[in-house]
């Protein structure tokens, strides 16, 4: 019971106040049995959830912004993404991370039809739509229609390259750097890179002009 009180420390939605579904009860029962048997301990569970919460798409955005500003890094990222991420103190193990680069002629989009495999070390937990039957079933067969539902209408001159994460590789998309960002700092650039850009259902847009030099 001692661990349950700590749950409320987190800002995450708390389920303790609502009646438990059967599977929520099962989670509590299995976890407590594993703790009582010494298989895992409560602190480890908490630490794992904290680590999960620390992984956000900001990590992926940092990688992209560096690739946009440092051509040598970009080359290393495309050749060996795990090693390049380590340069930024981002550990992507055990994922076999692979970076797919958008160009003038090619747009990449990522899906996992069999499950919901996702580049979690760089993006955190997948959004619910990524795990949905609709996205998993349709993204491979009608990717352009799916992208349109996300507001991305690509011309026929751009080839759509779908990546189905069936096995051991995990993918992120390296989007194209938007026009008009020459004066942007790396942090400004990272702010343009949303989670959806890294999955390939969106492209970075300059939604604001960076204010006249805010800092000297």
């Amino acid at each position: 019971m001692a661990d349950r009180g700590h749950d409320h420390v987190h800002a995450s939605p708390v389920d303790e106040d609502s009646p438990h579904s059967y599977h929520q009860t099962l989670e509590v029962a299995v976890r407590e049995l594993l703790i009582e048997k010494g298989v895992i301990d409560a602190d480890e569970v908490r630490a794992a959830v904290e680590e999960m919460d620390a992984r956000t798409p900001a990590r992926g955005a940092r990688v992209v912004a560096r690739a946009w500003t440092d051509p040598d890094f970009r080359a290393r990222l495309l050749a060996d993404a795990p090693a390049a991420c380590r340069e930024l103190d981002i550990d992507v193990s055990p994922a076999q991370l692979t970076v797919t680069e958008n160009t003038e002629d090619v747009h990449n989009v990522i899906v996992c039809t069999l499950c919901s495999c996702y580049p979690r070390p760089l993006l955190g937990l997948p959004p619910s739509w990524y795990k949905s039957a609709s996205y998993r079933s349709r993204a491979v067969r009608e990717p352009r229609a799916v992208l349109q539902e996300f507001g991305l209408d690509l011309p026929e001159t751009v080839a759509v390259r779908v990546h189905d994460s069936t096995a051991d590789l995990r993918y992120i998309v390296l989007p194209q750097r938007p026009e008009g960002t020459d004066t942007f700092s790396e942090d400004d650039l990272a702010a343009l890179v949303t989670r959806d850009c890294l999955i390939g259902v969106a492209v970075p847009r300059v939604t604001r002009t960076v204010a006249e030099p805010a800092s000297p």
Partner: protein, 96 residues
């Protein structure tokens, strides 16, 4: 040693065994081009039954033309789909 090289034309075997299989149904029987040799990995079909000592298997990334995968594909003729496939699911295709 990988049995296939980058650029080889390969066909995905059209088999439908039970068990845990990482070759999606929609790609079985389709022909594509080896985009890259990934490396050897544990075989999910064996790992799924707890057999961690089973021999590793070579993994490839194979690129398919979408219009070869879906007869009614709506999109550009250059649209492709990349799927990771283990070596034992691939067979040679004569050039042509």
């Amino acid at each position: 040693m990988p049995r296939f090289a980058t650029g080889d034309r390969v066909r995905v075997r059209a088999a439908h065994p039970p068990g845990h299989v990482r070759t999606p149904y929609y790609i079985r029987g389709r022909t594509g081009i080896v985009e890259r040799i990934c490396r050897e990995f544990g075989n999910p079909e064996e790992l799924a039954f707890g057999r961690h000592d089973a021999p590793k298997v070579m993994l490839y990334r194979v690129r398919f033309s979408q219009s070869d995968v879906w007869s009614d594909y709506k999109g550009a003729s250059d649209d492709t789909i990349d799927v990771e496939i283990y070596e034992h699911w691939l067979e040679e295709v004569a050039n042509g």
